[in-house]
């Protein structure tokens, strides 16, 4: 399923006269025809395009296929460049300056990549590969139109990954019918690259240019003219064994290995300075199939944007209507039960007379020695108290405390009768508790003494009743 949405990468070797393409399921080899300027002819481009599209088999809705390409050494220059100790972000900008100095073209006119050879406290040594950017642009345009997303390196670097032993310095000779490439590898990195004339004496040229004692030979013309025997006589000459079949070569296998084992390779890129560009609709070229496709996609999205709100209404309206009706019925049932219960409980709570609060305040206001005769209360808040106190002053204090409590209104001493020859005053008082909103809240405080005397833990404190109630 993953491969269905993300096609596996393909590996391409581009030579002057052929193009090899390899992927998991097989390969393909195509012949190239070039014009005098080295570019592909129009007929060749057309044929290549059709063959590549057919080989890649990409659907329009699928993402582009990653194409890891190796180009031949024609036109590629290699330079060793020493850099001072730098941080990662500064390397490329310093390299640009060095390329400006070392190469005949400006870095903006080149597609170039680099690889580190050594890194020490004094500085680092890099190898830079560069080619005219038109070479890469030509191939990139072709592969992009075929539905690939190309990235480029040099095939000679990739061949190095196909070698069985990479520890010692060695050379690799790619022998094709039309050309030969020789690369010298030192410390795992290519340090020199040569194009050899295929019609000359290759063996002599190799012995002349290669300082290495070990040489690997690959390519479909590696055994012609007794080359292998000639080189074997002078050097440790080894054959790179490559499986037969279309698309298989030391370069494509090396590229495949670099991807599967995630081995970094110098990637040739046109690293232009970022330019400030503004998008202009009028400058878009709608004759290109790719742009027309994007335009069609934009059109489809706009139509969907217009239609979806109405489609949503038509699709979801019946469902929403059913859910709403069901919810309304449930809510009606809920409200018919909870609403009246809430109303009843609230009115029940509000109409609950504060008898205990009133009794508590009377007990707190009464002076020691007060004798309670009777206390009458009703739910309208009318209170009548008959009691005997020790003096008229106590009666006044008692009334003052009740007023100060903020709980009662209309406190009236209806009758106050002193008893002859006794320190006692019989008193009859009436009062009215204030409405719920305007009376002060009562906070009961249990004194340790009265708390000890109460039998029930939830009962509020109350002064003890007199042993004898005097008759009024």
């Amino acid at each position: 399923m993953k491969e269905f949405f993300n096609p596996p990468p393909v590996f391409i070797e581009i030579n002057p006269t052929s193009l090899r393409i390899l992927r998991e399921s097989g390969g393909l080899e195509l012949q190239l025809q070039r014009a005098a300027d080295g570019k592909l002819t129009a007929a060749c481009r057309k044929g290549l395009m059709a063959a590549l599209q057919n080989f890649l088999g990409r659907k329009h809705w699928q993402p582009r296929v990653r194409a890891v390409c190796g180009i031949s050494a024609h036109g590629v220059s290699l330079r060793k460049i020493a850099l001072p100790a730098l941080t990662g972000g500064e390397i490329e900008s310093v390299l640009r300056l060095q390329i400006e100095k070392e190469f005949p073209l400006s870095p903006d006119d080149l597609a170039w990549g680099w690889r580190e050879m050594s890194n020490g406290p004094a500085g680092r040594e890099t190898i830079v590969a560069a080619v005219r950017k038109e070479v890469i642009a030509d191939y990139a345009g072709l592969l992009s139109e075929a539905g690939a997303n190309p990235e480029f390196t040099v095939s000679a670097f990739a061949r190095e990954l196909a070698c069985p032993s990479r520890n010692e310095a060695h050379a690799i000779l790619e022998m094709d019918r039309s050309h030969a490439e020789l690369v010298f590898i030192e410390n795992g990195a290519a340090t020199s690259l040569k194009i050899l004339p295929s019609d000359g004496d290759i063996a002599d040229a190799v012995l002349k240019f290669s300082p290495a004692k070990i040489i690997y030979i690959s390519g479909n013309a590696a055994t012609q003219n007794g080359l292998f025997e000639k080189l074997s006589a002078r050097l440790d000459c080894r054959r790179l064994e490559i499986p037969g079949g279309d698309g298989f070569s030391a370069a494509t296998l090396g590229l495949k290995k670099s991807v599967s084992e995630n081995i970094p390779m110098p990637r040739l890129q046109s690293k232009l300075q970022p330019a400030k560009t503004a998008f202009s609709f009028s400058q878009m070229d709608f004759s290109r199939a790719e742009n027309r496709r994007w335009l069609a996609r934009i059109g489809v999205l706009l139509i969907l944007l217009l239609i979806l709100p109405y489609a949503e209404a038509i699709l979801f309206k019946p469902l929403l209507a059913r859910k709403l009706a069901a919810f309304k019925v449930q809510r009606q049932q809920f409200v018919s039960v909870v609403g009246p219960e809430l109303h009843f409980l609230q009115s029940f709570k509000q109409s609950e007379p504060p008898y205990l609060d009133a009794i508590y305040l009377f007990s707190k206001a009464a002076a020691p020695g007060t004798h309670l005769d009777s206390l009458t209360l009703n739910q309208h808040g009318e209170i009548t108290l008959k009691a005997a106190m020790q003096s008229a002053q106590q009666v006044m204090d008692f009334r003052t405390k009740l007023i100060e409590s903020g709980f009662f209104a209309n406190i009236t001493v209806e009758e106050q009768t002193p008893i002859q020859n006794q320190p006692r005053v019989n008193v009859r008082m009436t009062a009215q508790w204030k409405p719920a909103g305007s009376r002060a809240a009562v906070k009961a405080v249990l004194s340790p003494v009265s708390a000890g005397k109460t039998n029930s833990p939830d009962a509020p404190a109350m002064p003890a009743m007199p042993d004898k109630i005097p008759k009024s």
């Binding site: 109405y310 309206k317 018919s336 609403g339 409980l345 005397k453 004898k468």
Partner: protein
């Protein structure tokens, strides 16, 4: 049938094109109106659903309040029965009084005023220690019945020191009428 000349053919072609455009426009306007009407209805329903959703939050808080009040009063109106509530409430009052140490005297039950949403009135006398009387007054609203103390009288008992006489009139509320008045 006469063969049409090129001018007539062109006229007929233009007429067909014109009529086709008119028909497509007419149909398009009708379809557009239908779709717009459907969408307006749908948006109205969505707004109603949002309103109901916010109302559901209010309902949930109301349910929480009701639950808390029912727990506070130990009273669940749904479990009460109109036929037996007066008997059950009277029995519960007497049991609470006796358990608290109050000696009960006379008990009188009478029908309540229906206009005042009363189901019955229970009047009873009793005597006991101060703490027991106060505890009974405290427990009356928590017996699990809609009881409202209409009036009460506390008097000292001259014959028994430390004892009080208590006369209480309790109203058994008609909760069904109270609920119906709200509904």
């Amino acid at each position: 049938m006469r063969t049409l000349n090129p001018s007539e053919k062109r006229t007929i072609r233009y007429a067909v094109i014109f009529l086709s455009i008119c028909l497509v426009l007419l149909g398009g306007v009708k379809v557009w109106k239908f779709l717009a009407h459907q969408r307006a209805d749908y948006l109205q329903m969505v707004a109603e659903a949002r309103h109901l959703k916010s109302g559901a939050g209010l309902d949930a808080s109301q349910a929480t309040v009701v639950k808390k009040m029912m727990e506070d009063f130990q009273l669940d109106p749904a479990t009460l029965s109109t036929n037996t509530i007066v008997a059950d409430a009277s029995a519960a009052i007497q049991k609470a009084a006796m358990n608290g140490g109050i000696k009960l005297g006379s008990i009188r039950e009478s029908a309540g005023h229906s206009s005042a949403k009363e189901m019955a009135t229970i009047e009873f006398d009793g005597s006991g220690p101060v703490a027991a009387v106060i505890a009974l007054l405290h427990r009356l609203p928590l017996l699990g019945y809609p009881l409202l103390v209409d009036s009460m009288q506390i008097t000292g008992d001259a014959m028994r020191p430390g004892q009080m006489k208590l006369t209480v009139t309790i109203i058994v509320l008609d909760w069904k009428k109270a609920e119906a008045s709200h509904a």
